[in-house]
């Protein structure tokens, strides 16, 4: 149970307005984020609802200390990370970006269409540890490196290293579709 202080009417209106604004701006992005964390459609819908709920609740405390984008992605990724922990997925074989090459090398099919490529990409993301998953999702959402650092708490060097790694993994993985 989240015990946030009961907002005044003005605060509640501001909270609702902020939520509407964010829903308009980030709805699709949040949906993709939920896809990166949950394969099962029913569970994914629950996760997405949970993300929206947590966002709405969090806006009672939003004070502009960080940008709205950072706030939204933090709350969304925190909620999704909790989902991963709660479902004990951290105990399955999630890998780090550093190990991904070996893990992903087996059975990589030559993809011919976008749907397959997307499926491969989703599988790859779902096999990652939560923090690495955050970085790759944010990278794919074209969030700049500084913001990724702000959201994840990783240093600029660390973010740069991880993005470099992600790029090379994706390149290897998706070069397989190149026509001979």
């Amino acid at each position: 149970m989240v015990r946030a202080p009961k907002p005044t009417t003005e605060q509640a209106i501001a909270q609702d307005d902020l939520y509407r604004q964010v829903d308009g701006l980030y709805r699709a992005s949040l949906e993709r984020l939920a896809r990166a964390y949950e394969l099962d459609p029913d569970k994914r819908r629950d996760l997405l609802q949970e993300i929206h709920l947590q966002l709405w609740r969090s806006f009672a405390l939003f004070d502009g200390r960080c940008s709205l984008k950072t706030w939204v992605y933090r709350v969304a990724h925190h909620t999704a990370t909790s989902h991963v922990i709660r479902n004990r997925r951290i105990y399955s074989n999630l890998v780090g970006l550093e190990e991904l090459d070996i893990a992903g090398a087996s059975g990589a099919e030559v993809d011919v269409d976008r749907l397959k490529a997307l499926e491969q990409l989703s599988k790859l993301i779902q096999s990652l540890k939560p923090l690495d998953r955050q970085v790759i999702v944010l990278y794919l959402e074209e969030i700049d490196a500084t913001s990724i650092g702000e959201i994840t708490g990783l240093s600029p060097t660390n973010v740069a290293m991880k993005i470099h790694r992600i790029k090379s993994i994706l390149k290897k993985k998706f070069r397989q579709g190149e026509s001979p």
């Binding site: 989240v2 609802q49 947590q54």
Partner: protein, 200 residues
């Protein structure tokens, strides 16, 4: 498909067909009410277990004249409520929204794992202890008669074996969860170390 460029991958990811899940404020408020109601139910269920255990212990104190047994049952009652208090505190602690948004992904992940690790560090304190203490103190007269006549041990062997298997299973599971959380925390510390180097 020819080789994918970075921009293609961004596009591929961002263009994926969404379900167009629309969530309005009314649904969110309903979900908030449902979540709170669920938490209240869980709290009530936990409290009910504590009340039942307390009632059993109180009944034991009432009917058994043995001083040691009565003291043991009284201590079990206290222990039950201490564990219950900790459980309530855990359940009503602020979750994700609000304050948590001030933490970065790294801090939040570490915090969640530490909470989990703390919980699994002391299964005796929060759960096994009160339950086993209640069982032992209730069975004290039986255990005493077995001490006087070892041949009776056969009578409680099946119960003892089931209890032992259950305890072992519980302990192995909690230990595994504890160690996994610890391993991940160590990994995060290494990352934080690299973070420090990166910023320095």
């Amino acid at each position: 498909m020819s080789r994918m460029e970075d921009s293609d991958l961004h596009k591929l990811w961002q263009d994926q067909a969404g379900g167009g899940t629309s969530i309005n404020l009314e649904q969110i408020r309903r979900k908030a009410e449902e979540t709170d109601a669920k938490t209240k139910q869980q709290l009530m269920a936990n409290t009910l277990i504590a009340v039942i255990l307390t009632a059993c212990c109180a009944w034991g104190i009432w009917v058994h004249p043995d001083g040691m047994q009565r003291t043991g049952l009284a201590l079990t009652m206290v222990w039950t409520w201490i564990a219950q208090h900790a459980s309530v505190k855990r359940m009503i602690a602020p979750g994700l929204a609000g304050e948590a948004a001030f933490s970065t992904g790294l801090e939040f992940y570490r915090g969640e794992l530490e909470k989990r690790q703390n919980y699994f560090r002391r299964p005796w304190l929060w759960f096994l202890g009160p339950v086993l203490a209640a069982i032992v103190f209730f069975m004290l007269p039986i255990l005493r008669s077995i001490a006087g006549n070892p041949a009776l041990i056969r009578n409680i062997t099946p119960f003892g074996v089931i209890l032992l298997v259950w305890i072992l299973f519980f302990l192995v599971r909690t230990r595994r969860e504890y160690l996994t959380a610890q391993k991940i925390i160590v990994g995060l510390s290494v990352l934080e170390g690299k973070n420090g180097l990166g910023e320095g």
